[in-house]
């Protein structure tokens, strides 16, 4: 469905709209700061961009901006990776085995409404305030949608296709690898997509508690020193990196799910 809407616009048109909307936002921001009282609480966009630019060479705290972002990214990758290697198999087992589902589903239904951030206190008690508790928080935040989507992908395999595979001589284990897995891939990717943005949000929250570097740390120290320029720089970096991560994953999905994409 989504693709149909996307392909109505040409790539060039989409790019033009993208730039126009960003320019519009910046313009409103600039005008509001320039001509209203907002300038008491907000810096102008130019100040923020200048800060972001200079922080590529000048330290914020102990390091330059790219290294702060790398520190956050490293945490995300560890936590997210854990969530993937635990969540995908767990979801798939739940989806294709009735016993698996009966055992795991009730536990999961109970854990599901608890947001990842609610695990922060426990994480700190269990793992201290070091890196492991951050990994844990990120992992729990991402794992929910990863499990859920892998589960629904594996449980919604078209019985006509499994029948066709049996008719062609596939044994149960072959049906799992050649039918269940590939037909769940698009759903699994949907879960990975949501999980990635959840874990990127979780790392910021985790860093706001206690850290000495990272994108979340930039915001918190900005708040402590009343530096709105630094806060906004941190926020913008977070937005841009999040966007980049999501696009990377979408690119990967396109490669892996080419069969699922209509059009040329």
């Amino acid at each position: 469905m989504r693709k149909k809407i996307r392909f109505q616009n040409t790539k060039a048109e989409t790019a033009v709209y993208f730039c126009a909307s960003l320019t519009g936002l910046l313009l409103i921001w600039y005008l509001a700061v320039r001509y209203t009282n907002l300038n008491k609480v907000m810096p102008s966009p130019f100040e923020v961009f200048a800060f972001v630019g200079s922080s590529f060479v000048k330290n914020i705290g102990s390091r330059i901006l790219p290294f702060h972002i790398l520190a956050s990214l490293k945490r995300v990758f560890v936590g997210y990776f854990l969530a993937c290697i635990i969540g995908i198999p767990l979801g798939i087992i739940m989806g294709c085995s009735r016993t698996g589902k009966a055992v795991i589903k009730p536990i999961f239904e109970l854990l599901r409404p608890i947001p990842g951030l609610a695990w922060i206190p426990l994480a700190i008690l269990w793992f201290g305030i070091g890196e492991s508790s951050k990994y844990f928080i990120i992992c729990v935040s991402a794992i929910v949608s990863i499990i859920l989507n892998s589960y629904s992908g594996a449980s919604q395999v078209d019985p006509i296709l499994t029948g066709a595979a049996k008719m062609l001589g596939a044994r149960p284990i072959q049906i799992f690898f050649y039918i269940t897995l590939p037909s769940s891939v698009p759903q699994i990717f949907a879960g990975l997509q949501v999980g990635l943005s959840s874990s990127w949000m979780a790392v910021i929250a985790a860093e706001m508690i206690r850290a000495s570097e990272g994108a979340g740390w930039i915001i918190t120290t900005g708040m402590e020193s009343g530096n709105t320029v630094q806060i906004l720089s941190g926020m913008i970096s977070i937005g841009l990196v999040g966007l980049l991560l999501a696009s990377l994953l979408r690119l990967m999905e396109r490669g892996l799910c080419a069969w699922n994409i209509q059009g040329k």
């Binding site: 078209d158 006509i160 296709l161 029948g163 066709a164 595979a165 049996k166 008719m167 062609l168 001589g169 596939a170 044994r171 072959q174 050649y178 039918i179 590939p182 037909s183 891939v185 799910c257 080419a258 069969w259 699922n260 994409i261 209509q262």
Partner: protein
């Protein structure tokens, strides 16, 4: 020429008093009612029936994809309970694997059976050529037209080399010209390399062109209405007077089932 559905106990396929009802909540729809028919080895049987009379349901039961509510199906004396590679199915709504290319779909059966890659490639190529899809080996089903998908389904069933072929209105979505071509093709393959074929259609001309024997079904709840032995020389000429005469006669019987 006509004979009532008397069952031969030594036939390859026995469909013995098969009935099927679908239960939906507290409603029961009786679709098949006491269907009895037998198919000899290497016989080409066409099942001719009106729309929505339960032809697909019957094929699914013969394939083992669905369970009968009553009666049983045996193939070579063995009761049918599950789908098996000895009974290949060409689906009415093509059940291609969307994540596999044409090549991947056609070669799926041999791959599952562990046929070495080189031999598999050759076999796949052969059947893709046979259904006229050369050049589309690497295309995904989503990019193909309905008729092309159907031909992939046919190639996939043939490539797995089943001893029984169940074909459920395989040419339903084809245009008239391709349909004639495919009929000739199916007849040619069958003549060269004999199999037992059960072919479902609602097209009388197609039935007369292909069948050794036509099994005419009634309306829902469906039973076997009549059987016709077709003794014409193959390949048949669908303009010959004998052909037209048979076609008209069966047409009259079909009218009566309405």
């Amino acid at each position: 020429m006509e004979h009532s559905g008397k069952i031969k106990k030594d036939a390859m396929i026995l469909c013995d008093h098969v009935s099927k009802s679908f239960v939906n909540g507290n409603e029961t729809a009786e679709v098949l009612k006491d269907i009895t028919l037998s198919v000899e080895e290497n016989e080409f049987v066409v099942i001719l029936g009106p729309g929505q009379c339960g032809k697909t349901t019957l094929v699914n039961i013969l394939a083992g994809l669905e369970r009968a509510s009553g009666g049983e199906v045996t193939v070579n004396g063995k009761k049918v309970t599950d789908p098996e590679p000895e009974r290949g199915v060409v689906y009415q709504k093509t059940a291609l694997f969307p994540w596999l290319t044409v090549e991947g779909n056609v070669g799926f059966g041999p791959k599952m059976a562990g046929v070495p890659k080189k031999e598999r490639k050759e076999r796949t190529k052969h059947y893709i050529e046979l259904v006229g899809l050369s050049g589309f080996e690497k295309s995904y089903p989503i990019k193909l037209s309905g008729g092309m998908r159907q031909r992939v389904g046919i190639a996939r069933a043939y490539c797995n080399n089943p001893s029984v072929l169940l074909m459920d209105e395989p040419f339903g979505h084809l245009d008239a010209q391709t349909r004639y071509l495919m009929q000739e093709e199916v007849e040619r393959i069958w003549s060269q390399d004999k199999r037992t074929v059960i072919f479902v259609t609602n097209n009388i001309e197609e039935a007369v062109y292909l069948a050794d024997r036509i099994v005419l079904l009634s309306n829902c709840p469906t039973t076997v209405r009549n059987e016709f032995k077709i003794d014409l020389q193959r390949p048949r000429d669908n303009m010959s007077s004998e052909f037209l005469r048979l076609r008209e006669e069966i047409g009259r019987h079909v009218e009566m089932t309405r």
